[in-house]
Every structure is written in C-alpha cells, then in structure tokens.
C-alpha cells in the first residue's frame, strides 16, 4: 500500500554533483506522463529527454515506471527498464535527471497552491535552478492528474508478439512492417560489425544484411565505456596485436601496422612493437594497440564493407519466431527519425544474430544505497560512468584527498594509474585499494599444472583471460566440455583479472614505498557522510572476512571498479526472449548469478532454432559457454567465424566455404581497400 501524496525529488546532473531542481507531490493515484513537452505532467526539459518519455503509474498497491519508447531510455538505478515496479530504493534515471522517491513518512511537505501548469513551468525553467518563486527549495508542487487510462503505446510490441510464434503474413500486412532480409543482427555494436564483416567477406551482398542498433558507429558504446574508464585515444587498449576487428585474418596486426607507420617517418623506435610481439608474454610486455588506431581501422573497414547501408537505427524491444521459419524483430526508432510518423517497426530475417553487449553497469549495493541517500554528494562513482569530476577536484585543490578504489580488475589498475598521474599535480592524494580478500604470493588460481601469478594481492595474466582461451588448448578443452565440466574449468581459471603490465605493478610498489597506496581487505559495512573541517567525507567501516573488529576508512571519493553486469535479465528484450522460449543458461562466471545464454560451439542458440531459420549470439551475453573470452575483439571474431562457417555448411545464401584461395583473394582486396 502506498501513502498519498507521493513526494518526488528531481535532481539534475550537470558538471559536478547532482543538483535538486524540484520537489513535486502527486496527490492521487493515476498515470503521470514524464517528458520534454509541456503537455506532460512531469516535464524534464533537456534535449536528451524524449517528448513523451515515460509513464509513472501510481496505483493503490504500488508505483511502476514504464518507458514510452524513449530514445535514451529509462533506468531504475543502472538497470534499463521497459516497464517495472518501483519501490524507490534506487532512483529512476532519465537522461541527466534522477527522480528520487522521498521517504513515504516524510509527508510534512508544504503544499503550494501550484497548479499543474506552474509545476511544469518550474521544471522547465533554466537548467539546474528552481526559478519558480512559488516553488522554493524543499517545498513541493502538486501535480494533478489529467490523462488517466491505460497508455496505449507501452503495449508495443506485446500487441503483436503475444504468441511465441507469430504470423509473418499478419506482420507484413500490419502497420509496423519495415522490411525483410536474410541476415539480421541485433545490437549493431562491435559484435554485429564483426559478424557482418565476415558475412560480407564470405560473399554476402550488402542488401542481404541488416544490423539494428542505437548508433551507426559500431564502436560508439565501447568508446564511451573506454573514455569513462580512463582510456582516451592515445592510451593503449587491452588486447593484442592480432585482435583486429577490422580484419578477419588478424594479419597484418596492429603491431606491424604501427611499426610500419613509424618507419615511414623514420622513427626507428617503432621496431620495438615487433619485438614486443616476438617476445610476449615472457620476454617482453605484451603489445597492445592505441584505441584511436583501432577506431580508425574500424572506420575504414566499415566504409569498405558498406556498413552504413546495412545499419538500421533503432532500439530492439522484442524478438519472436515466425510461422515461416524466420524471426521477427520489433524495434522503435527515435522521434527525430520518425519525423512524426510511426516509430514502431518490425523487420523479419531468416538468420538472426544477437550481440547486444553488456546489459547494465554493476553498482554494488552499499554504494548504490549511499548514492540514493546522498544524491547531491558526487562522491561515489562507478568507473564506467563519467567521473572526470573526481580527477578535476583532487588535481585542482591542493588539499589532502583519499580515494577508495574498489576491485582488482583491469579497470582498477587503470584508475590507480590515473590517480598516480593526478599525484603529479597534487602530492597529497592517497589511494585506499579495497579488495575482498588478500591473495598471497602462492595463492593464485590453479588450472591443471599451471598457477596464476600474484603481485601485490592482484592476480596477473597477459590479458583478461589466459591466452590459450582465444585459441589453443584451453579453448579446445572448454569447447569440448559438458556444461558441468565447464563450470569446473571456469571455477579453476577464476574469471578475468587485470593485465600483467610492468608500469602498473611498479606504481603499486612505489605507492607502498611512498605511503600513499594502501590495500585493505574486506567489505564495507556502513558508509556514512561526515562533516569534517576539510569538508564532507565518506566514513566507512571495513570488516575483513572472519574478523571481529572493523577498521575505519575515511575517504573523499569511492570509485567502484567491479565491472559491468553480464546478467541478460537486465535487458528487457533479452529477458522477454529468455522467458518466452525458455532459453537454457550457462553456469555462472565471475560473480553474476547466472551465466549467459546457452549456445553451441557454433554460437547457435539452439533453443531458438525455427525450422531452417537459425539464431546466433555473440559477446558478453554468451558468457560461460564454449569460449571463455567471448567479450573481447578476438572472441567476437571467433564467434563470427564459427557462425559464418556454420551458415556456409547449412547452405545459407551467398556464403562461401571460404577456402584458401578465396581467403587469399579477399585478403588482397582488404589490403588494397576494395569492396569485398
């Protein structure tokens, strides 16, 4: 049961901390529209918010949020939602706004005489301030309900996808039909790109391939994650020379291309890249390409294969088998693109490919709760969010600052390196590195005869998995194992870790010596905001496993580097797919409750087989399956190759078996930049 009126605080994120822009009060149950246009009851005035963005559904028994097919979507905490109950524990996020449910007992809010019109005006005023005099801070504006009744548009695609097998003829005769093709990929990120690249080179013409996704640039999502986690274009990535999403052969690799470029400009130091490849990982540190170089190479390959002509802009909402052995994909395009027309579309494809990447950003519970309690304090960040404010603050203020870095993955290493760089500007920055448990020198994971090496309580390997996961013995062992054996192998290998980089190890050594780096072990029991003479700080009680007493840690910022969520249930579209067809799931790997979607070694989702129609998947959503390193350039390339080969053997149209001669002639075309 909810208590009326409902009080909501609306915060806006600008540079720096969240600012509260409004408190509003919802006096009765009903459906409240949220959006950019003034006709909504709750107006969020920013270009990133769609005209009609979402519904807030207030019922006797609880509150729910439903996205109305917005371009930038609606989130509860970090989970993207389609329609979901909302208990207020986590804020609703829409573009740069956060809507917090004010504790239901705090009902003492002053009711202004404001009408709906005033409320909306107050919110649509200039960004970041509540300019409306009738709505001073801390007071509430009452929002009246004027649009009752079940909103229509939230039903798509349920209105056409109510059955698990839908009629293709009915879809084609219906208002949403947008076309059909032979090869249809969902996601249009790097996984889709690499798949389309293989198909094109194997002989499929552009007109037979479509890829539906949010951004025409295949690496857009990846680049955003890289930028936020402190990998700007000149920084090096985390994969090797032959992980080449722009080149299916892996030759020439990025190392020789970089050397060649250097030599052309008489920079002989470029030869070191070749030596790195020659000696890695034992005699030299592994070569990794610059992110800018990788992006440029993908741009050029995208042009060569005609990616723009294959790309379809849209957000996929649902997938169904059709009664003519194909697949229907329902998606929605942005308001701008629809130009006032129908935004809901359905495309039908014979061979489906799903590569939607990470379903969500992980935010560990304690930090999430802190954020929800103190939304105006920009102190706790996920490393994958934009957290430049942290570096700006600590670099510009010469005061002592402590940053807690949580986790020991590759992102944590990079963040520590970034803080080390910040120390050049501010010598009194200290790092507290929080890890669950200590790991001794000889306590690294063991798989068969080998043991992973440990430095400074951090397990190290050349990349984020043992190298033989990308080809060679471990890949073969995992591929051939039964699901139960696989679970054991994954347990033994022990998930992803940071990369073995000398500079990263040295930074920690220097930090320990200099007293500005300190590892701590355990979980934070409490996070409190305390006021000190140096401003507000976060006070945490840290309890180590099996330890009675708790230690106190006081810090200015916490950066959570524990990763992204792989659980497909965080994606509304995949969740619907998994539930409709009862898709089998892989055993869990590295922390998530369940693994990804079960696929065969050919990356087919066999549970989705539809007569002669076939569905494939790639990337993080297949974690825990026949290949450990699914979420990597080379892993995506391998998955694409396997599924393209599988399609070729099936006799799918225009796909060749890709023997040595065709391979060679296509490689020559790649080298001379001719279309495949």
């Amino acid at each position: 049961m909810i208590k009326l009126p409902i009080l909501l605080d609306i915060y806006q994120r600008g540079e720096g901390p969240l600012k509260r822009v409004e408190r509003i009060s919802l006096p009765e149950t009903g459906d409240y529209a949220i959006g950019r246009l003034p006709e909504n009851q709750i107006v969020l005035d920013a270009p990133e918010v769609s005209k009609h963005h979402a519904w807030l559904l207030v019922r006797e028994d609880g509150i729910a949020i439903a996205d109305r097919g917005s371009t930038n979507r609606t989130f509860i905490g970090d989970a993207e939602i389609d329609r979901s109950a909302w208990d207020g524990a986590l804020p609703v996020r829409i573009a740069q706004f956060e809507i917090h449910l004010v504790a239901q007992t705090a009902a003492g809010a002053v009711k202004s005489s404001g009408t709906q019109a005033q409320a909306t005006r107050a919110l649509s005023g200039s960004a970041g301030t509540s300019a409306q005099p009738s709505a001073p801070r801390g007071q509430s504006i009452e929002v009246a309900l004027n649009a009752p009744g079940a909103p229509d548009e939230i039903r798509f695609p349920r209105n056409i996808f109510s059955e698990s097998i839908v009629s293709a003829d009915a879809l084609k005769a219906g208002p949403y039909f947008a076309g059909e093709c032979t090869y249809l990929s969902v996601g249009a990120g790097l996984g889709s790109f690499v798949w389309a690249d293989h198909l094109r080179i194997f002989g499929v013409p552009k007109k037979d391939i479509r890829a539906i996704g949010d951004d025409v640039i295949p690496y857009a999502n990846y680049q955003r994650l890289c930028r936020n986690s402190q990998i700007p274009p000149h920084e090096r990535l985390r994969s090797n020379s032959i992980s080449t999403p722009d080149n299916i052969w892996g030759f020439p690799g990025y190392a020789s291309r970089e050397t060649w470029r250097d030599l052309k400009e008489f920079r002989f130091s470029g030869l070191k890249h070749i030596f790195q490849v020659f000696g890695e990982a034992s005699l030299a540190q592994s070569f990794t390409p610059r992110s800018g170089d990788v992006f440029r190479s993908i741009d050029s390959e995208a042009k060569r294969i005609g990616w723009r002509e294959m790309y379809v802009s849209g957000r996929v909402l649902g997938i169904r088998k059709t009664n003519d052995e194909r697949y229907a994909v329902a998606y929605r395009i942005s308001e701008e693109q629809a130009r006032g027309g129908v935004r809901e579309r359905v495309m039908i494809g014979k061979y489906l490919h799903i590569a939607t990447g990470y379903p969500a950003t992980r935010f560990t519970g304690d930090l999430q709760a802190f954020k929800a309690r103190f939304p105006e304090e920009a102190r706790v960040f996920n490393a994958y969010e934009n957290h430049e404010a942290v570096y700006r603050t600590i670099e510009q203020n010469p005061r002592a600052a402590t940053v807690v870095v949580r986790g020991r993955g590759i992102v944590a290493s990079r963040i520590i390196q970034r803080l080390y760089e910040a120390r050049r500007k501010n010598r009194s920055i200290t790092i507290v590195h929080q890890m669950r448990t200590p790991v001794g020198r000889n306590e690294g994971h063991r798989y068969k005869r080998a043991q992973r090496y440990v430095y400074n309580h951090i397990e190290n390997q050349a990349f984020n998995w043992p190298k033989a996961c990308w080809g060679g013995e471990i890949l073969r062992e995992v591929e051939r194992a039964t699901p139960e054996e696989r679970a054991k192998i994954y347990e033994a290998i022990g998930g992803t870790t940071t990369a073995d980089r000398r500079d990263w190890r040295n930074i920690i050594q220097i930090g320990i010596g200099g007293g500005w780096y300190r590892p701590v072990f355990g979980d934070f029991e409490t996070l409190e905001l305390v006021k000190t003479d140096q401003g507000p700080k976060i006070e945490m009680r840290l309890r180590a496993r099996g330890n009675e007493s708790a230690a106190e840690v006081v810090a200015d910022f916490v950066i959570d580097c524990t990763g992204l969520i792989g659980d497909i249930m965080h994606s509304p579209c995949l969740r619907d797919l998994a539930e409709t067809y009862n898709l089998p799931r892989n055993p869990s790997v590295s922390g998530d409750k369940t693994g990804g979607i079960g696929v065969t070694p050919d990356y087919e989702i066999s549970a989705l087989r539809n007569g002669t129609g076939r569905a494939y998947a790639a990337g993080q959503i297949t974690l825990g399956g026949p290949q450990p390193a699914v979420d990597s350039f080379l892993g995506l390339q391998y998955a694409a190759l396997r599924s393209a080969d599988h399609l070729a053997v099936l006799g799918a149209p225009n796909i060749s078996l890709f023997g040595p001669l065709r391979s060679f002639s296509q490689w020559i075309k790649w080298c001379t930049n001719l279309a495949p």
């Binding site: 005699l283 080998a450 073969r476 050919d602």
Partner: protein, 159 residues
C-alpha cells in the same frame, strides 16, 4: 597462434610441404651440387643431402613437440612465445647437426665425403633458407590462406 600438440605436428608438416620441400629443391639444384655453386638446370643435377637434412629436421621436430607441449602445461597462459619458437628451432637444428656428426647419415655416403667443413656450412645456409620463410609464415602469412588455423592451435582444416 597458441599451439596444441596436433596443431604443432600439422603445422610442421604443412611447413615441410609448403616451404621446406620447395626451398630445398631449389637449394639442392642451384647451390648444393658437388660440382659447381650455380649449376644450370640441364640434366637435373641435384644433391640429395639437403633433403636428408630436411627430413631429419622434421623427425627431430615431431619428436620434440610433445616435450614442448609438456612444458607449455606449466605456463599459465599455455602459450608459446615466438621467441621460444625461434630459439627452439635453432636448438632443433643443432640437434640435427649433432646427429649427423655422430653418424646418423653415414649410411648414405662415405663419411669422408660427408664430414667436411663445406658441408656443415651448407647445412647452416640451407637451414636459414628454410627457417626464415617458415618463421615468417608462422608470424602471420599462414593466416592469409587459412583463417581458422590460429584458433585451432595450428591444426588445419575447417572448424
């Protein structure tokens, strides 16, 4: 490429046929004939000695592969850096030389003919001619023709 045992064997055999045999053929016709350093093709005058060396190299390699694989098991990455490949190729050649020295090929001709300094120099030149292109092939040229090879631990064929 991160080799498996079968992959090592198959890659070795592949390189033997693709690079080893053709290079040795050319080498034995033009250079390694007893009479003249550069002999005209007329009469197909060639020396079988380079072929015998190549064969020995193949056999020594095939026998050592299980040993390499065994050591690979102790490496967490289960990889085999190019530098190791390079180093052990030379070790294999030295083993072949030692075998010849100890009389492994004495049954083919008179030891007086065989164990001359010129012959040993020729062995080394021949080895370099076979080894350098083979190593470059491993570095990536094989992939141009066989795109699945690198994922299959060096095995050929389809997935």
């Amino acid at each position: 490429m991160l080799p498996t045992l079968k992959g090592r064997w198959l890659t070795r055999i592949l390189l033997f046929f693709w690079i080893g045999l053709p290079v040795t053929l050319v080498f034995s016709i033009y250079i390694a004939t007893p009479e003249s350093p550069v002999l005209p093709l007329i009469g197909w005058n060639y020396d079988t000695l380079p072929f015998q060396i190549l064969f020995l190299l193949l056999i020594v390699g095939l026998l050592l592969d299980p040993v390499y694989i065994h050591f690979q098991q102790y490496r967490w990455e289960r990889d085999w850096p190019f530098a190791f490949q390079f180093f052990f190729s030379i070790v294999e050649f030295l083993i072949v030389l030692a075998l010849v020295w100890r009389g492994a090929l004495d049954f083919t001709r008179s030891p007086l003919d065989l164990h001359t300094p010129e012959n040993y120099l020729l062995f080394a030149v021949h080895f370099a001619c076979v080894f350098i292109p083979s190593f470059l092939a491993l570095l990536g040229f094989i992939q141009i023709f066989m795109i699945r090879w690198r994922f299959k631990g060096g095995e050929w064929g389809r997935m």
